[in-house]
């Protein structure tokens, strides 16, 4: 009986899945952030409240952007290693915030007290010198975290300069993945329109890389890894959500260069890499075989979009000859 039921119903269900997933994907297109928002050398960050559409949900949100115009894709900062750095932050929110950094427990990023940002004010932030690696910058507190006010900080990886290969001898391209899961229920609660209930079951509905769910991820120049044979890419990954994530690479093993949650794993070579909530990893990938290969969260509820498979934290590696 079970056999017959599956035989008849599953194709219908899968067809429905594909149709609805396609519709959901189309709905997202209008809200996908621009590639230019991924500019990494910004001198100024704007905290921009806004609204964000994912499938059938329109959600309040908040981002760090490189301009006063709201963009659903958050900004990425890049700075040299070993020297103090600064950024100007303009708080466009209606409440005060604290700008913080996170890294490995006890390192200069995590032990840094942070800087208060008054509502509507412009603040010059002077941050401590950090070692080469990937870190997070974020606004303190659950409201800001649920709304997505966090970004990736890449330290000590200057953009490759094809005209001066000696300046970047170890890699050919840089990529960054901001991971986050999103719960419309929690967003509504922290946005103030419903009472907060942190004891309720946490059931995120959207899972994104750079605020995109698959298939939008493959169109993201920072999210999809495009390399030619023999090239090396550096991938900075930050997990801004509440859930631990774990990324599985098809076709390749990557080298962990930096892992703020488990720093003792530097140098490990893996195909399945945990990225714990609130932490970052920096990965090196050598394009040693041609083809197209998925990279995705292996907690498989995270490769869905509004419940449909495939979606969410799924992107791909393309290696050309």
């Amino acid at each position: 009986m079970v056999f017959r039921l599956i035989f008849v119903v599953m194709p219908i269900k899968l067809l429905t899945t594909l149709v609805v997933a396609a519709a959901a994907s189309t709905a997202i297109v209008g809200s996908v952030g621009s590639a230019s928002a991924q500019g990494v050398a910004a001198d100024t960050l704007w905290i921009n409240p806004g609204s964000w559409v994912q499938a059938l949900d329109t959600m309040a949100t908040m981002r760090f952007n490189g301009s006063a115009d709201f963009d659903s894709t958050g900004a990425v900062l890049a700075r040299p290693d070993g020297e103090a750095w600064s950024v100007v932050v303009i708080n466009g929110d209606s409440v005060d915030h604290v700008f913080k950094l996170s890294g490995t427990a006890g390192d200069p990023a995590s032990s840094w007290a942070g800087v208060e940002l008054s509502a509507g004010d412009t603040t010059a932030v002077l941050a401590p010198a950090l070692d080469q690696g990937s870190y997070r910058f974020f606004l303190q507190g659950d409201r800001a975290r649920v709304l997505g006010a966090a970004g990736l900080l890449r330290i000590g990886y200057p953009a490759p300069d094809p005209g001066n290969p000696d300046a970047t001898p170890d890699y050919d391209a840089l990529f960054n993945w901001n991971l986050c899961e999103w719960s419309p229920e929690r967003i509504v609660q922290v946005a103030g329109s419903q009472p907060q209930n942190w004891d309720a079951a946490y059931i995120p509905k959207y899972f994104t890389i750079n605020e995109r769910g698959f298939p939008q991820t493959v169109a993201d120049p920072m999210g999809a890894v495009n390399l030619t044979m023999g090239q090396t890419g550096i991938i900075s990954v930050a997990n801004h959500g509440y859930m631990d994530q774990v990324l599985h690479f098809h076709g390749f093993h990557v080298t962990l260069l930096h892992d703020t949650a488990t720093p003792q794993r530097a140098g490990w070579i893996k195909d399945t890499v945990p990225v714990r909530a609130g932490h970052t990893v920096t990965l090196k990938l050598l394009a040693n075989q041609p083809g197209t290969y998925p990279v995705h969260a292996h907690n498989l509820i995270a490769v869905t979009l509004a419940g449909f498979y495939p979606g969410g934290m799924l992107t791909q590696i393309n290696v050309t000859q």
Partner: protein, 413 residues
Amino acid sequence: MTYSDLKIRAAGVTLLLISCTQLAFSQTALPPLLFSEMDGIHVLDDGTELPFWGYGYTTVGEMTLPAPTLTYSLNQNVNIVFTNPSPESHTIHLHGLDVDQANDGVPSTSFNIPLGGTGSYEFVADHEGTFLYHCHVTTTLHLSMGMYGMLLVTRPDNLLFEGGPAYANDVPLLFSDLEIATNFDPTGSFPFHDLRPDYFMVNGLAGSQLEAPEQIIHFGGGWPGGPSIEGEPVALRIGSMGYSRVICHFPPELHAVCHMSDGRPVPQAFDLDSLEVFSGERFTVLISPEPGFDGTFEAAFWNTADNGYEQSQFIRVRDAVLDLNELAAATAPALTAYPNPAHDRVHFSVAGSPKTAPLELNIFDPSGRQIHSGTISPEGFDVSKWPAGTYTARPINSDPSHGTPQAIQFIVR
């Protein structure tokens, strides 16, 4: 389902579909190694018969949860021929083996094995280690339904890797979980993002099922089917196909050391008291339990959405010598004291031996002090002046594993 049934069924559906299906996979003359089906029944710890989807050896004709562990030799050219008589498409993704795109098992970039189809996955097993395989069609559902297994690549010299430590034997430990309601009603499992496992397994087993004798990890040599090299550590091949985060807690007596992760040696092996395993990760851990160890280590399952604790399973590790002793004791000839209780004299005999045969015995008083060592004549002992109490008679050079009787106790009044 028998293999014959399978072949007939597969042939029938192949004929039905051959005119309308483009099979974008390589054909091969090799017989199928694995098949998939969607009508399996897996018995849970409480006796519930749970539907599952899975893989099985075609030569066996039955599926298991998890699927059979596939073991290959380093640098072996592997060709896994897979046939799918089930009503949905399936694939085999070779998780962690870095196979090329054509053999990756992802429908959109590789190929599907549709209803009635057969295909093959070819690769060179060029790294030693612990790997996994699973279906990559509607993966969230197909994994939860049970379509996964472990794959090992080993060396003929019993080293973990070139220049690595020697070990005695491989013990696959595949952690996984499932949501019972989904397995009973997979068509009603949407939406997938709220799938929350409520049954947690080690090699498909849970609770009391893990206490069965055949599930015990034996070490120390001599156990049939167990360690073949006495004194060498046991390699735990740990992997996870679950939705949960699993934390293994190793007692210090196991002397657990992590040597590999995801099919590669770690830069420096390290001692373990706990090990966190996320979905898709693998670790190779050597354990060198202390002689006589008989205990468990815990695998604790944690929910990844809210970080709540779910459940623990316990994996038993036992010195093979203990089992051998028990086995020998069960079959060893019995030493008898008579009369028992004794007042004046006590005699000893061994079942199957003439009562007139002398015995070599050590006798211990109720406080454990040895009061005699040597031959005891058929006339026995005069115990009329012994203090009342429970005495122990132990044959000299007692070794139950070599067929000599164990110690007995007798009472003097």
